[in-house]
């Protein structure tokens, strides 16, 4: 008879892969992934839409999502387009993408990252306090047991992205210069 340490003890984060919002509680990283998908419904890219056959989602820095981003977006299209997920390790790597998630690990290189995407139709999203004021468009933050998000309208305007007014009503607007 074999002894079995609880599987979660070895790989705790891998135990939960369901993203169904009907569950009583979802974990923070799951909620952020679902929120990213939901947020994109309220954003319109310039010139009538997205140019590619796939929605290009990129993460720069140490991903907080493990492998879950690929798992989720394998079955959840964005704007009716299949989602390709890419990872960048350096601001110089940033190529053409539609959404860039800036990980917490990029606190030191954020300015360089934002200068690479400045005025390009790339929706920038982060989950680090203070990143919105520094120029990230959407910052997912936690308030108590719930998630909310901040929006910095300046880079949104510069990039010619458009956001739905109802969506902005739900947001905390940052950076109104």
């Amino acid at each position: 008879m074999a002894s079995k340490m609880h599987w979660a003890a070895l790989f705790p984060p891998l135990m939960v892969t369901s993203f169904c919002p009907a569950q009583s509680q979802v974990s923070e990283y799951q909620a952020k992934i679902v929120l990213i998908e939901k947020l994109t419904r309220f954003v319109e890219w310039p010139n009538g839409g997205l140019p590619g056959k796939a929605f290009r989602l990129a993460v720069i820095g140490r991903t907080p999502f493990g492998d879950a981003l690929e798992d989720y977006f394998a079955s959840h299209p964005i704007k009716n387009l299949p989602v390709s997920v890419e990872y960048y390790t350096d601001p110089g790597d940033i190529r053409s993408c539609d959404l860039l998630f800036v990980a917490h690990s990029e606190t030191g290189t954020l300015d360089a990252i934002l200068s690479r995407v400045k005025a390009r139709p790339i929706l920038t999203i982060a989950d680090t306090p203070g990143f919105t004021r520094r120029g990230v468009m959407v910052n997912i933050i936690r308030e108590g047991a719930r998630m909310t998000f901040e929006v910095n309208l300046d880079p949104v305007r510069e990039s010619n992205l458009r956001m739905h007014p109802g969506f902005l009503q739900l947001a905390r607007i940052i950076g109104h210069n």
């Binding site: 002894s3 340490m5 720069i60 739900l170």
Partner: protein, 662 residues
């Protein structure tokens, strides 16, 4: 602030257009933001950051390729291959399949519950005797290398955890599926699932029948094999109930194979021949948290049984006459575990497990009644510390002390008792892992782990009227493996892994022929040394995914290649998804291997599989063509099966399956 917000919002707001999201989307977003979120780690490990060498097969991978058995699926994963003896599908790891091993060296878990048993007389656990339809599997987590410091006995060469799909979120849902193939398979599966308040439940039932096989064995001069050769039936059921902090699971399975083509030394294809496997367990878990301490309390009970009716005509080395056997093993046990977080960077896990077990095997060999009775106890105590000094560096150190305490062991032949000495076997198994992630695209791992496997009751205590002798002094076998792993994310959805592995396997347990017709399991005095280079490349783009693997292996005892070692194994699979259609193709290759005992050398062999599926919300249909060519024919068998030296091959199989969901 509100004025600013309104003015500035208007500047970037989307004008009304056809693409405007619906008010439902807005309500959905609002509802989602109102939903509480679990307090959890802010960062989740990538699978490849885990302190182990592992691969995960997703449920849709299993569906896409149309695999029929768990063994079929595992055979395409880096480091694994199957060996078919037409009764049990053996699982080889890192190029080696020890002939006659009935998966005693790879731990198979179903939702975390071990299917391996102490008796291990005859079973596979990954063939038809695995009772969960693959359409109901969420994922299969596969660890290469020993993991006994965490999972104890049997996690010797690797571990496989099959995670079933959880209960439905809706009040009630269900699925029914049927499968048939050109090898006279007929399988029906049913699943119902639901939720009442906070309690979710899921019930599976599966029934499988396979008619006779028409294979031929070139070694046999006469081919008058019966129509019911290898005829097989299996019924299984699985119930899972889950609440907030608790989970209850129950599993029953019975599988019978008639006229099996290669039962031990008995008359090939005799209609009398019948192999039977029964397995049942219950598993109850409660996982409360007390502040920073997460706990697990578990109770479980198992019953596994191998049984057979065999016809011996004396032509295969054994005596003649009828033979029946039944080998049930019961166990009842419990486990307690605590996970304690100390600060942000330290996590300790400690636990204890014990089970009381009872084995009572009864064999009737042409009127001679042979009984084997063993009362035994398994104890495991384990501790593991995980230290993450920085976000990019982590260390894991684990130790497990295992004890196998046999309180009584005896053989009775026609009521005459032969008691055996009952020494307690104890051992400590270490584990060390260092994981370093210098950038978000690279992961380096240094893994050192031990594995041990207690002798099975069959190997240690089984004795009959002369052809098999007990060996109560048999010691556990042990393995130590050191692995270096490099994982790299190439961008564009491509990920690679390269690993170098070195293993020292001591006291290998194998049957040894003492004289003609008499064998005994013994520890090999020679160390088996294994080394391997493994590589995995996988990628995923919208609509496409691929997986490829390559392993180069060497297993030697005193500079002699160990029998049945494949020097090379490789595999490639590609899947294309459209909106409803999906198409997959797979090819696997196992290199040549030798078995000096049988004076045979088999060439390499390839297996090809193509599958086409159509899936809608409420139904799906899938067609799969498998061409194993001569691959099964290249699977060697133990000397017990003489004069057969190779298995017969099933060649090409076309399979059709369809399912309904509601």
């Amino acid at each position: 602030m509100h004025i600013w917000k309104t003015i500035l919002s208007a500047a970037v707001a989307i004008p009304l257009s056809a693409q405007e999201p619906s008010t439902e989307d807005l309500k959905d977003l609002q509802a989602f933001l109102d939903q509480p979120v679990q307090t959890a780690s802010k960062r989740v490990q990538r699978l490849k950051e885990a302190a182990a060498d592992m691969t995960v097969l997703k449920g849709h991978d299993l569906m896409d390729l149309g695999y029929q058995t768990l063994g079929d699926a595992l055979g395409g994963v880096l480091g694994f291959r199957t060996n078919e003896d037409r009764t049990y599908q053996g699982l080889g790891a890192r190029g080696l399949y020890v002939l006659g091993d009935q998966n005693t060296r790879v731990l198979i878990l179903l939702d975390g519950h071990a299917l391996n048993s102490a008796a291990e007389v005859g079973s596979s656990k990954v063939g038809a005797d695995f009772g969960i339809p693959l359409t109901q599997v969420d994922r299969v987590e596969i660890v290469r290398g020993p993991a006994s410091s965490l999972y104890g006995n049997s996690a010797f060469l690797g571990m496989v955890n099959v995670v079933t799909k959880g209960p439905a979120q809706e009040r009630f849902s269900g699925e029914a599926a049927v499968t048939g193939d050109t090898r006279s398979l007929a399988q029906g599966d049913a699943m119902i699932s639901g939720r009442q308040g906070s309690v979710g439940w899921r019930f599976l039932f599966s029934s499988l029948g396979r008619g006779g096989s028409r294979v031929r064995f070139p070694e046999l001069s006469s081919q008058t094999l019966p129509a019911e050769l290898d005829q097989e039936e299996r019924q299984s059921a699985y119930l899972n109930l889950t609440g907030g902090q608790w989970n209850l699971a129950g599993y029953v399975m019975e599988r019978t194979q008639r006229a099996s083509s290669a039962p031990f030394q008995s008359t090939i294809g005799s209609p009398v021949n019948r192999d039977r496997n029964r397995q049942a367990y219950f598993d109850g878990r409660y996982t409360p948290s007390f502040g920073a301490i997460e706990t697990l309390f578990r109770v479980f009970g198992d019953r596994s049984e191998y049984g057979c009716d065999l016809d011996y005509d004396g032509t295969r080395g054994a005596g003649s006459g009828p033979y029946t056997e039944s080998d049930p093993n019961w166990s009842l046990g419990g486990e307690g575990q605590a996970r304690v977080k100390a600060g942000d960077s330290l996590l300790f896990t400690l636990g204890w497990e014990e089970s009381q077990q009872h084995y009572h095997g009864v064999a009737d060999s042409s009127g001679t009644i042979i009984e084997t009775k063993v009362r035994h106890r398994v104890q495991n105590t384990y501790i593991q510390g995980e230290w993450r000094p920085t976000d990019s560096l982590g260390f894991t150190l684990g130790l497990q002390q295992a004890s196998w305490i046999v309180t009584r062991a005896q053989t009775l032949i026609d009521g005459v008792s032969t008691p055996y000495p009952t020494p307690t076997l104890r051992g400590i198994t270490p584990r060390f892992a260092a994981v370093w992630q210098p950038s978000s695209l690279d992961i380096f791992k240094l893994l050192y782990g031990g594995g041990y496997r207690n002798p099975t009751i069959f190997e240690r205590y089984y004795s009959d009227d002369g052809s098999i002798l007990a060996n109560p002094s048999l010691e556990p076998e042990r393995i130590r493996t050191l692995s270096g792993v490099w994982v790299h994310l190439w961008g564009g959805g491509i990920q690679s892994q390269v690993s170098l592995n070195d293993s020292q396997w001591r006291r290998l347990i194998q049957p040894v022929v003492l004289e003609e017709g008499v064998q005994q399991s013994q520890n090999s005095p020679r160390t088996l040394h294994g080394s391997s280079l493994e590589a995995e490349l996988q990628g995923r783009w919208p609509g496409w995914s691929f997986y490829s693997s390559l392993g180069l292996y060497r297993w030697e005892q005193e500079h002699q290649t160990f029998p049945n070692t494949a020097r090379i194994q490789a595999g490639f699979r590609l899947t294309r998804h459209w909106k409803h259609w999906n198409a997959s193709g797979e090819i696997r290759y196992v290199g040549p291997r030798e078995n000096p005992e049988l004076a045979t050398r088999v060439p390499g062999s390839a297996v090809c599989r193509a599958s086409l599926g159509w899936e809608q919300d409420h139904w799906w249909v899938r067609a799969t063509l498998e061409d194993i060519g001569n691959a099964q024919r290249q699977d060697l068998v133990a000397s017990d099966y003489a004069p057969i030296t190779h298995m017969a091959s099933d060649g090409r199989t076309f399979r059709l399956s369809a399912g309904l969901r509601f």
